[in-house]
Symmetry: C2
Amino acid sequence: MRGARVRNEETTVVPARRPPRVAIENVWPQVDGGAVPIARTPGEPVDVYADVFADGTAGVRVAIRWRRRPATEWRWTPMTPVGNDRWHGAFVVPEAGAYEFAVAGWVDPYLTWRELLDRRIATGSVTEGDLQEGADLLRAAARRTQGPDASRLIEHAGRLRSLAAGPLAEAARSATDPEPLELVARSPDRSAIYLSPTVLRIRVDPPRARASAWYELFPRSTSPKAGRPGTLRDLRQRLSYIADLGFDVVYLPPIHPIGRTGRRGPDNRHDPNASGPGSPWAIGSEAGGHTAVDPALGTIDEFRELVAEAGRQGLEVALDLAFQCSPDHPWVTEHPAWFRHRPDGSIRTAENPPKRYEDIYPLDFDSRDWRALWAALREVVEFWIGLGVRWFRVDNPHTKPFEFWRWLIAEVRRDHPEVLFLAEAFTRPKVMVRLAEVGFTHSYTYFAWRTTRAEIERYFRELHEGVSHEVLRPHLWPNTPDILTEQFHSGRRSVFVQRLVLAATLGSHYGIYGPAYELLEHRPLQAASEEYARSEKYELRHWDLDAPGSLAPELRRINRIRRENPALHAGRNLAFHGVDNDRLIAYSRRSDDGTNTVLVVVNLDAESPQAGWTWLDLRELGVAPEEPFEVEDLWNGPRYRWAGARNFVRLDPQAETAHVFRVRRLGGGS
Amino acid sequence: MRGARVRNEETTVVPARRPPRVAIENVWPQVDGGAVPIARTPGEPVDVYADVFADGTAGVRVAIRWRRRPATEWRWTPMTPVGNDRWHGAFVVPEAGAYEFAVAGWVDPYLTWRELLDRRIATGSVTEGDLQEGADLLRAAARRTQGPDASRLIEHAGRLRSLAAGPLAEAARSATDPEPLELVARSPDRSAIYLSPTVLRIRVDPPRARASAWYELFPRSTSPKAGRPGTLRDLRQRLSYIADLGFDVVYLPPIHPIGRTGRRGPDNRHDPNASGPGSPWAIGSEAGGHTAVDPALGTIDEFRELVAEAGRQGLEVALDLAFQCSPDHPWVTEHPAWFRHRPDGSIRTAENPPKRYEDIYPLDFDSRDWRALWAALREVVEFWIGLGVRWFRVDNPHTKPFEFWRWLIAEVRRDHPEVLFLAEAFTRPKVMVRLAEVGFTHSYTYFAWRTTRAEIERYFRELHEGVSHEVLRPHLWPNTPDILTEQFHSGRRSVFVQRLVLAATLGSHYGIYGPAYELLEHRPLQAASEEYARSEKYELRHWDLDAPGSLAPELRRINRIRRENPALHAGRNLAFHGVDNDRLIAYSRRSDDGTNTVLVVVNLDAESPQAGWTWLDLRELGVAPEEPFEVEDLWNGPRYRWAGARNFVRLDPQAETAHVFRVRRLGGGS
């Protein structure tokens, strides 16, 4: 705080510049002391809080000063007090890019005077000099101002001065005009403005980062003919089916050559002759590594055509970044230093005791040759970006150094800001958030394991608070090739519907692993296991998309509802509501502009009808306490007229399972 | 995080140095982003918390690295995990001065190996290579180590290697010896240690800052003869009385010349002829200003003698710093720019509508000549330090700029680290804490207005949490010349005893305004007023110290108890206990070394006996759940044998009002 100091008297050194009168503390959002930007998409609000106060009875003004970088003009958004010297303000980031902000505070002498004047008026102790002092302060403000504001200030000063000559009590009351206060607030003495010391940053990602619906599938299972392995060409034919379901992103497990050494067979059994296709995550063979396409699937050109066709159909192709190698990967011989060696010289395989994965070598990020390894991994990402990939799903990022990701993602996004990274991490809470802090734009979550109402409410409240809420965009998957939670094992359709509606409406990003999901695939490898029996990870599957009972209609419907309701794209607006039956869960989401509100009620009981009375938080729905409103069930059709917090709901899992209500005020509003 | 970067391959820039594997976040205590040191006294513990974790399954070690400044040798204190990746450690600052600390984290490859080995042992999947790898890691640690640790590491490595040749299951179990883990933890690879980025600071104040008992009195009321004004010589005679009561500090309201202009008369009435002595806070006359002694009280030499005599009696003299002036202060003519002027050229008097204080001009810290003003105020402080004053009570510091105090206190304490500043601020919570942050070593509190058990518990919990607990040392006053709270208006002795015991045992610093307190002075200016009738602020009073019913014996007793029990000097150890009667309050304090524990029970009912059963938190008393213990009532005499959480207490305000128990384990411990 000291700055340069000069000798003032013989013995005493006083600061050279007048220090700030105001204190600014506890600015929020601030992640890791300001080292980490918060994340937004265009059009999203940034809510800022700070403790701001001055000594004595000084009247304080507070504003957010923010701009897009590199240097555009500063914009100022006023903040208002919310009690106990805490202030709040909000601004909307208009477009993608880097932003910065700080909190500005200053003492407003006219406001100080006005607050004292109010007390003098209340106690009848106004003097002529008091009013003249106010006039002087207005003239000082006019000198700092240009244009019409300056003339208005001069006028107000003149009026105050003339009032001072008349009856004081009356004059005092006339002096409380709000206009000069506003004019002065707009014309602060810039030299007296103090800024919070840390410049805080916002990373505004492209609009696509706001919401997406993913469809994961294995290209080798897309063949129209049972028994013949699918190819990238087959997958191209499948795109229209996926686009018709309403998805935005087609996500492919690794499409690279698969190693033979240690290859796993069906149901993850040992496959000594490597007769099966092997796991796509055992990357690399004599046909190439992370920048090659498995010859069984096709060619680089065919991949390029796939991406192009997907684009024509409104789909993006997302690839898996699994930074590990099969023992047959070219890097094993070209760069042995990139792997960890045992004392006998052999390379360590991946291990999760008692399992050792004979088909996978982890990369050694502690390698002495780490710099070349990092560079090579970046080349991999750049390679696929060159082929049109703009979204990567990263396999197990929490097992690689955080600082590697911080570097990689920053480097890639500097040149390609449209590229997004989804972290597939299931680990401790702080590690999950750290991955978002180092740059992952999206993150897998524990949604798959949160099944009761209490579990869901608690988990989503956790996701929507503190640092997590500022940096981590949750992506919800009811299933993945690795995760078939126990509730699906019965194969009940109602469970698949329930979990689909929850995933698609609790968050802005969701995905399913198909066609397993829409075809209600549900047999586990063994009881209580979360592995699929006959998992596509280890063998080819053929899926009959026309099988009766497919969830395709429900997928189409929920994706259409998502597209049509901006409330379901907004990431910062989830509110839970009360229901007097714990098997029912109710929550709402609202668009940032308040014009679109969706209220969801789901029956979490897969077998029996459940009924109850809601206890709605009407403010979250934008509805007044006594105001009737309409709820239109976008999922099932009917419209109801509701009023107040308490309304009756009943959901039968044999029929509707969920309400997805669009909420509309009847008074002409939304 | 990036640091210097060098070109590695044609297209990719990789950091030049290997970035840290560990993440260190949310280090506590950290005030204002590390800009503000926390405050301690010698021998007090510093509890440090941090979130520390690495990627994957790496075994992490965490320690506090701390030292006294300027550069002494670094000391290392290990931290231990407390759940959810949060770590805790504590160290004791041995002596006064400036300290700094950071949290250090590193990946310990041997710990990583050991944790994996435990899992391999549990699943029976240990291999010979696993054990050899452990041996290699121990040899690597030995190479970083000197002396006996190195030889022990080599021995352990040899044993592990030889075990690898035998039966693996048995060998694995033998490999879990804790010693090598400890040896490796002591010999980290220094180049892999990552430090939390902000260096955090501790200001260790002199031992006197830890605890004190203050006695405030007006020198002009110390005359042994009624009617004759008291002087500094009279005050010198009074010192033995104060020392005998057991106080540490004699605090004097301003002793400077008092202005005549606008002088206030008895009961703060207008005194047009300035016939009374005036308020000591209306500082300055033709006899001088802030560096002069009121000629009615004596001379500078007599003040010097007073300080010397106080020192001989084990007392310190604390002065009031009231940075304001009477209209007759020399600065008014010498430095008119240091005051605020009205438009008509007159100087503004102090104002608190409807009151205007005609006898006081506030100083204008916004003055254009602020630098000379600051320098002059510093000269005032230095002047009194030169006369032996080492403790200042600062009047209304919250009405002057925070940064003025930050500068003044830092400058003064750099040359005189033994000088302490007590902030007399009654204002908003964040402003109170801010004053501590800018350097005040002690602070007045709202104790005087916290009277019910719920109010007291809530307020002291607030004082003992967060930033406040790290920087603000509370000073408790049951009364001051400005504050006679309504509960005293009845004049009941039990109220004076109750509030004395609370003030003297709830905090380490307390004070009374005497002889008003011990003589049970209780008449307010008017009903519900907190002003004393016939306040000494405006007239001379004569006090009969030998009046019957004086609280002198109680003062002597409580001050003796405070001196004899280090638990009552410690600032960081207050715990409240349950009692099933809300008119009783129970709390304990414990010395930092745990050898002294005091448990206080106070009857908050001034009129009637109250009884109840305690619900003690026995851990806070250092007593085991089933262990009987002795409580000796230091206030009233008797000893009791207690056991468990529930014990009977009964307090009659006509007799004992409070228990002040020394708690002793009967098993030979304290």
